[in-house]
Amino acid sequence: METVLLNGRDDAFIRAVEESSGQVVSRCYQCGNCTAGCPMSFAYDYSVSQVMRLIQAGQKDAVLSSKAIWLCAACNTCSQRCPNEINVAGVMDACRQMARREKKFAVRAMRAFVDAFLDSVKFNGRSHEVGIMALYMLYTGRVWTDVELAPKVLPKGKMPLLPHRIKGRSEVAAIIDRYKQGLSDPELARARLAKDAGEESGKGKEAVS
């Protein structure tokens, strides 16, 4: 393993994780309870407590290129049992979102699944299982994923081949598009809030005068 130069701690990364997750990572004393209870631990490259340690050490690259942050099932067992009341699952969430922004996808299948799901929601307004599976196979090339399940569900009408499209699907598509355009950026929202507040107080003054 490479020697880690601890002077090189990326404090901006630590702050970003803390801000996004609302958690204070220095509260973690590395007891390992999160690792102990994690159902997906078997598939991880770093255990959950190691991810926490890497964040504490400001090792941005290692964290954002880890598989662990993508394989977290968001079951909240770690958060529930953390003796220091850290929402560990929230920290994993924050890292995953950060990795996505930085276009780091250590588990490509996860990205494909998420993209397939959101594309289905965007087209139809609702998620459509058959559609998601088709898109997922397309994105990953894993053509035979779960096809053995089809005979159990198709005859029972539990997997309609056609999606239930909603009338307002363009609204839903617009939400996703606006997100992709970056319109939910916190700075934009902050600026708008400040502007609204200014207008409010302006109105107040007029009313008084």
Binding site: P39, M40, A74, F113, L188, A189
Partner: protein, 330 residues
């Protein structure tokens, strides 16, 4: 509580893989006097994938659901699916923050007023309707049915957001099943993770995690694993065949609690919708009926014995009273 009305959010799986949950939920709510108004033209809450991308995107999809409800005068929403519940709850919780709400609004372009609430069907039945009411409706008690309740991870966690039951050892479904007459075995894995939505991208996860749950249920001698979550149900039931190829050596049906309620309430097959499950419930029900017979016979034997004893006591009592009276006279 009868006569209460809720906005109803079935969730996308209700139209597909959890059709049986959807049908039985509607039937059971009707029987319990809960009126469900469907939220008009509702959309997907984004499930885990949207949340994985960004909580703001996830909340924006939820916000449209609430806004659609508000347009129809609906404020209190009911959903059977814990995953939807978790998204909708998280959205409401996060939007208490002004900045977060502003970011959501930038996506929806529809301002959302405060005052919305969302609960699970299970919570409303246990807390608002009450188990006494459920008990009153039972026509076909599940006497002799050995069940283990499986809650999954999302129904009670995170504790601060879900605010329902005990996060480690929830009891609501246990008590509900008991109210239906079923036997509930203590199940230590009732909040263990089944693999959630990782079943597709990480193939190994569900056989391993759901397998562990099914294996223990079988060891305990359960006839059924009873669930409240479409995703858990799919992992435990639909994927049970996959799990069997990895070493699980028996089958066990995995119905929703609402299906067992529909059955116990004496509703029709169409509404209990057991046929839609992957694993057949018939063997479990015949086990139940056999055990019910045994229980009945045992009860009759005990009652007869008690009556015999009581008669003997009464006889002795009369005798001693007579003796006492005689003594008194003497």
């Amino acid at each position: 509580m009868s006569g209460a009305a809720f906005g109803y959010f079935p969730g996308c799986s209700g139209l597909g893989t959890s059709l049986e949950y959807e049908r039985s939920t509607r039937a059971v709510c009707r029987e319990l006097g809960l009126t469900l108004w469907d939220i008009p033209d509702w959309n997907c809450c984004g499930s885990t994938p949207a949340h994985t991308v960004d909580p703001v995107l996830s909340a924006a999809l939820s916000a449209r659901v609430f806004a659609q409800g508000a347009r129809a005068g609906i404020r209190d929403v009911l959903t059977p699916c814990p995953s939807c519940l978790s998204n909708l709850r998280n959205a409401l919780e996060h939007m208490e923050d002004e900045l977060f709400a502003a970011r959501v609004e930038a996506l929806t372009e529809r301002p959302l007023e405060a005052g919305h609430s969302v609960k699970s069907v299970l919570q409303v039945i246990v807390e608002d309707v009450g188990l006494d009411k459920v008990k009153e409706r039972v026509r076909r008690p599940l006497t002799g049915l050995k069940t283990v309740p499986y809650y999954g991870c999302l129904m009670t966690r995170p504790e601060k957001i879900m605010r329902f039951d005990d996060p480690e050892n929830p009891q609501s479904m246990d008590l509900l099943l008991q109210a239906l007459g079923a036997q509930v075995l203590p199940f230590p894995l009732k909040v263990d993770c089944c693999g959630g939505s990782l079943g597709i991208p990480v193939r190994d996860s569900v056989p391993r995690l759901a397998g562990r749950i099914l294996e223990l249920a079988g060891e305990l001698g359960a006839d059924m694993v009873v669930v409240a979550c479409p995703l858990c149900q799919m992992n435990l039931d639909l994927r049970q065949g996959q799990i069997r190829t990895r070493g699980l050596d028996y089958t066990i049906p995995v119905p929703y609690f609402t299906q067992l309620m529909a059955y116990a309430f004496g509703l029709g097959d169409e509404e209990a919708a057991f046929k839609l499950l992957a694993e057949d419930v018939a063997p479990a029900f015949s086990c139940m009926r056999r055990r019910a017979e045994e229980i009945k016979a045992e009860e009759a034997r005990v009652a007869a014995l008690a009556a015999q004893k009581a008669a003997a006591r009464a006889g002795r009592g009369a005798q001693s009273r007579a003796n006492g009276a005689a003594g008194g006279e003497a």
